[in-house]
Amino acid sequence: MVSAIEIRGLVREFKGGITAVAGIDLDVAPGEIYGFLGPNGAGKSTTVHMLTTLLPPTAGSAKVGGFDIVDEGAKVRATIGAALQEAALDPLLTGREHLKLQLALHGIPRDERPRRTDELLERVGLRLAADRKIGGYSGGMKRRLDLALALAHRPRILFLDEPTTGLDPQSRSALWDEVVRLKRDEGVTVFLTTQYLEEADLLADRVGIIDHGRIVAEGTTASLKAEIGRPTVEALPANGTETRSLEDVLRRFGELQPSTAGVAVRLDGRGDLAEVVRALDSAQIRVADLHLHAPTLDDVFLAKTGRSLEGSEEEPSAPE
């Protein structure tokens, strides 16, 4: 199967010895949502700029839609849509004018533009605000228009660079729904960069975690988490005298783990949370609290880099 996006040894260096992307390899299958996860300054946006032909690589190669990003830039651009980190809209134009301009620049026939404009505005929920200037749009509205502009010419491959940064939960959820719909109904390949674990977890078929310009982990979210370990169940006995009994029950499901709050066991496959609850009930052990701790992508990042992704300090950004 030919990859929708194929990257081999891609490098980008900037003046002053800054290496924003230090050699990455990855493949994205057609119709896949690929999540590119990493902290600020990891090289996510620089990678997107190279793949969308806005920045030439220093070394390495990549193909997008089967076209080389260096030698066949024009063909790449015809194949892709991109919503970059900045919404990049003109505050003096209306949403409808932006779309008409985008359609005209992509060579969409004049008689098709009004229908396509209305269709896109409807899809992103901006029909009522279509004739307002962008200066009056909220952040969420700008992002939705940005997405509509990226989809104007029906691209096969869509690049979304941190599309939900700064959005309220409702706008974020609406944008996620649209991304899922694009993949499901239209088979669009989506390359999504994000620093939000939840977003990658929810949307991505596969995730690549990038740090300091290198991919440190790649796979499905389930496989990445399974690499780190199985879930842990932690129980707080209602009565301190039942701690020993609690330990006996939980020991049946895995190896006991250190816990400050009560008793914890790392599940080893002999049972899941529901079975633990049934076992505690059968033994008539009352618990005041019960938690299931599943490994997160942050745990994956921590295991691979020694740092937490969430709350990680902002790295100096590479100049564009």
């Binding site: 032909t53 030439p56 015809a78 991109a82 970059l84 809209l89 003109d90």
Partner: protein, 243 residues
């Protein structure tokens, strides 16, 4: 054009301010017409060339600022992801500048005629004047675009205005070069290409058909336009940096 129309300051200022300055200077410098050898009885026809040049500067800076803003906001990146070539994007941008320049020329000439100026070169001269005015706007506009593309900064483009203004004042704007008594000023004005642009427009108003003045004005405006377009094309290629 839509963006320009929606920013009244971008077109009201170029239309109003040059005429206001012309009115002030005409009132204050009318006595200059008494100098032996002054080419007209009234200062107004002599000075009518000024708003064409100053208006071009305003239009250039405003358009350059718009382009720099497009760079800063990332809008140029969006445009560069379309099939449009860099040249087409530049031509589109300068096209708006040219249209505004034509409108301005119409306005200034109309104001002059209303104020009693008579065009010695007649209707044909008016047509030539419009062509020259558009070339001047294109020349200045392309340098404004170059500054915007090279710096990507609205502040840098705006800082060009006083520089261009100095060129305007160190010219034959207020006096014919042969009547400038201060040697260094006359030398500077003679070396200043803006003097010849002014004199070309002025010749159509006062003298009718002055081949030398027109040849110099057209040569310089075309030369500046070619230089400006070349620089801005190179700057556009560098700015887009697309593969």
């Amino acid at each position: 054009m839509i963006r320009t129309l929606r920013q009244p300051a971008n077109w009201i200022t170029p239309l109003v301010f040059p005429l206001a300055l012309m009115a002030v200077n005409t009132g204050g410098l009318d006595a200059a017409t008494n100098i032996p050898g002054f080419p007209s009885d009234s200062f107004l026809p002599f000075f009518l060339a000024f708003p064409f040049i100053q208006g071009s500067l305003f239009a250039t800076i405003n358009a350059g600022v718009d382009l720099a803003r497009d760079i800063q906001t990332g809008f140029l990146n969006r445009l560069s992801l379309t099939p449009m070539s860099g040249t087409a994007l530049l031509v589109g941008h300068l096209g708006g500048v040219i249209v505004l320049g034509f409108v301005q020329a119409l306005w200034y000439l109309g104001a002059g005629l209303v104020m009693g100026v008579r065009l010695e070169s007649g209707f044909a001269g008016a047509a030539v004047l419009f062509v020259l005015a558009v070339l001047i706007v294109l020349a200045f506009g392309s340098f404004g675009a170059f500054a915007a593309l090279r710096t990507g900064s609205t502040e840098a483009v705006q800082s060009l205005f006083p520089v261009f203004f100095v060129f305007l004042f160190l010219s034959s704007m207020n006096l014919p070069r042969n009547l400038i008594e201060t040697d260094w000023f006359r030398l500077v004005a003679s070396a200043n290409p803006v003097s010849y642009l002014i004199e070309g427009i002025r010749s159509l108003v006062i003298f009718g058909w002055d081949a030398e003045a027109l040849a110099l004005a057209f040569s310089i405006s075309i030369g500046l336009a070619i230089a400006g377009l070349a620089l801005s094309s190179v700057a556009m290629r560098g700015r887009l940096a697309r593969t």
